[in-house]
């Protein structure tokens, strides 16, 4: 029982940053923009969150700083791809390069310093319920924030006018423009939202997951988040399932090793990727479903004509 509990708790922590970044990217892609710079925005979020928390002693200020840093970097991306209509794929890759470099530079003085940890919540009685308590009532607030964010995004995208506009902009920017919606401002807002989420995901790494800063601590999680968006066929709840599934496969790999199952560790390490590919194939094979949810204008530049 104890072992199962610890595995579940570990999975939740491992999946949360993926979910945070993926939900942000989902909104960006729904508006028709592909931002491949998630890894860079995460890194900058991680270092700024760490630094702010260290300076002020408050992990919550760290969280805010992480969001702000990610959002700030995404504004650069927005300016490039939306105002100057530069190629989104290339700009995203350049953003990754820049973000990782900047983060390393900013963080030079933070290496080897213990950080400020964002604690887990502890509700009297509730958290003490055996098994259920620690899982449902004993996480850090960002775990709940990630789930709340997922629900909020799902609600806004599919139940509100704002969501309708975002999806319209992503599906057909020409028509949306003709209807009088500002394609560029909507997309800009979505890009900044995605940047904030990626920054928050980075902040989760350096504040809650492992309170420390070292270079390259994002270790490819930004890329996995990108994959999760497609894996979840641009639907928030599926993205959440994907994130938790990915975390589960990864942690189960460790569990199997620790039991001494004798399976090559490389095979276990590659399982999450293989699972993602298989799931991608299964989901994409269902053409009706993907077509219904893929933003038709994804990655296409838009210039309003006058």
């Amino acid at each position: 029982m104890n072992e199962l509990l610890s595995v579940i708790l570990t999975i939740i922590t491992a999946s949360t940053p993926l979910l945070l970044a993926a939900i942000g990217e989902l909104v960006v892609e729904r508006s028709g923009v592909l931002n491949l710079g998630v890894e860079g925005m995460m890194a900058i979020g991680a270092v700024c969150g760490f630094g702010a928390a260290l300076a002020t002693g408050s992990p919550l200020i760290g969280v805010v700083a992480a969001i702000a840093a990610g959002a700030a970097l995404s504004m650069l991306f927005g300016f490039m791809t939306l105002i100057l209509v530069s190629n989104q794929v290339a700009t995203g890759l350049a953003l990754t390069l820049l973000g990782l470099g900047l983060a390393g530079l900013v963080g030079e003085g933070y290496v080897g310093q213990p950080g400020v940890k964002l604690g887990k919540i502890d509700l009297p009685v509730l958290t003490d319920i055996p098994f259920i308590g620690p899982i449902v009532f004993g996480e850090d607030i960002l775990v709940y924030a990630a789930l709340a964010l997922m629900l909020a995004v799902a609600y806004v995208l599919f139940r509100t006018k704002m969501g309708l506009i975002i999806r319209a902009v992503g599906d057909s920017h020409q028509s949306a423009h003709a209807l009088g919606y500002g394609v560029v401002p909507v997309r800009y807002a979505c890009v900044v939202f995605g940047g904030g989420c990626a920054g928050l995901a980075g902040g989760y790494l350096s504040l809650a997951y492992t309170p420390q800063w070292i270079e390259n601590m994002t270790a490819g999680r930004g890329w996995i988040s990108l994959a999760l968006v497609v894996f979840g066929s641009w639907l928030p709840w599926r993205v959440a399932i994907g994130a938790y599934l990915f975390g589960t496969v990864m942690i189960l790999g460790f569990s199997l090793q620790a039991i001494g199952a004798g399976i090559p560790s490389q095979l276990l390490s590659s399982l999450p990727y293989i699972v993602t590919i298989v799931a991608l194939v299964v989901i994409s094979g269902n053409r009706a479903l993907t077509r219904a949810n893929t933003p038709a204008c994804l990655g296409q530049p838009f210039v309003p004509d006058r």
Binding site: V85, N87, G101, S269, S270, T290, R306
Partner: protein, 367 residues
């Protein structure tokens, strides 16, 4: 004031030439400001960064020729992969996993010296190169198949496959393919003689550099003067028109993946046959990913990719030189590289669009 873009009727020829110049000028200015803030002499820093790698051209100092050789060796895999990716991206086929195809090529080609360490003949060289290209093609066939058969996003499948093949390589060199005489370190037997790429004269410039140049020219010809090139262009820019013309989208996906995968595989085997000299867990500092940037910087033109590869190689070597001579950290080199890319991408806008700064009054007038 407001920034407004106006689409040009056609690509501006003047801007095609001018935009990289503007980008470089902007980078130089930004760089100068950044370096000044860091307390360095901006001119010296910029010199080290951009001119040091190519200073042989004016110093004629044989000692400086070394940097040029290194430049060629560093640019070759980038150009080779970038050329293939250019064609692929023109057709709207998004192969992001060239790094994996590069690794697959290295594994397939490297299998020959692992299993036949004694085999030394010119044929060995040919066989290894062919296996390398075939390995890259085989690995790139997976996302192509998944795209055509299941409509699975090739961006993600090709990317995920990068990690998978890297782990396969890791497993091979730590396990079955490990050099028995290598003290159990993770590497295969060293490649020797015909198992390595011949070099030109006593330089370090190897056959792979020639491949890169040939590939760039051949692909430029393919895209410019053949029906296949036309087909790819049409399918990329106007898929509907392409379908009416009877061009097969599936065929283009296969063609692009096999082409770009094969070239990436060739680049991979070229690296292990020369600069690395054996299979080991890490064989590429992310050439496959950097080549994506190369393809875009080269405006999706194979010859452009060759030029872009050289520019990027200069920024790498310049970054290294800056670390050594100025004591600037590696991070600054990377940030600087990012800035350069941003400027180049931003200035590309000028080719397709006219940028106008409108005052508020004009905006209202127009509305």
């Amino acid at each position: 004031m407001r920034l407004v873009l106006e689409k040009r009727a056609e690509r501006s020829r003047r801007m095609t030439v001018l935009s990289p110049v503007i980008a470089i000028a902007l980078t130089l200015i930004t760089g100068a400001i950044v370096f000044t803030f860091m307390g360095l002499d901006p001119l010296e820093a910029l010199y080290v960064y951009f001119l040091d790698p190519v200073k042989y051209f004016w110093t004629r100092n044989p000692d400086d020729f070394w940097s040029l050789e290194q430049l060629a060796v560093k640019a070759a895999p980038l150009a080779l992969i970038g050329a293939g990716l250019s064609v692929s991206y023109l057709a709207n086929v998004w192969n992001i996993g060239a790094e994996g195809q590069l690794t697959a090529g290295a594994v397939a080609g490297g299998a020959i010296p692992v299993f036949f360490p004694e085999w030394q003949s010119p044929l060995t060289l040919v066989a290894m190169l062919l296996m390398g290209a075939a390995g890259g093609m085989a690995w790139s066939a997976i996302p192509a198949f998944l795209k055509n058969r299941f409509n699975a996003s090739e961006i993600l499948t090709s990317l995920m496959l990068v990690y998978v093949v890297q782990l396969i390589l890791d497993w091979l060199v730590r396990g079955p393919w490990r050099d028995p005489a290598g003290h159990n370190f993770p590497q295969t037997v060293p490649f020797t003689g015909w198992q390595t790429l011949p070099v030109f004269g006593d330089s370090t410039i190897h056959l792979g550099v020639l491949f890169a140049v040939v590939a760039a020219i051949a692909l430029a010809f393919l895209m410019g003067s053949t029906l296949k090139g036309f087909e790819i262009r049409v399918l990329g820019t106007a898929p509907r028109a392409g379908r009416f013309a009877g061009f097969s989208r599936e065929g283009a996906v296969w063609f692009c993946f096999l082409l770009s995968g094969g070239l990436a595989g060739l680049a991979g085997i070229g690296e292990v046959m020369n600069t690395v000299g054996q299979l080991q867990p890490s064989i590429s500092p992310g050439y496959g990913f950097t080549a994506i940037i190369v393809a875009f910087l080269g405006r999706l033109n194979p010859v452009g990719a060759l030029v872009a590869a050289v520019v990027l190689a200069i920024s790498y070597l310049g970054g290294e030189a800056a670390q050594v001579t100025l004591g600037v950290s590696d991070k600054i080199a990377r940030v600087f590289q990012g800035i350069l890319l941003f400027y180049i991408l931003a200035c590309d806008t000028l080719i397709l669009y006219r940028v106008k700064l409108l005052s508020r009054a004009t905006v209202e007038l127009r509305a």
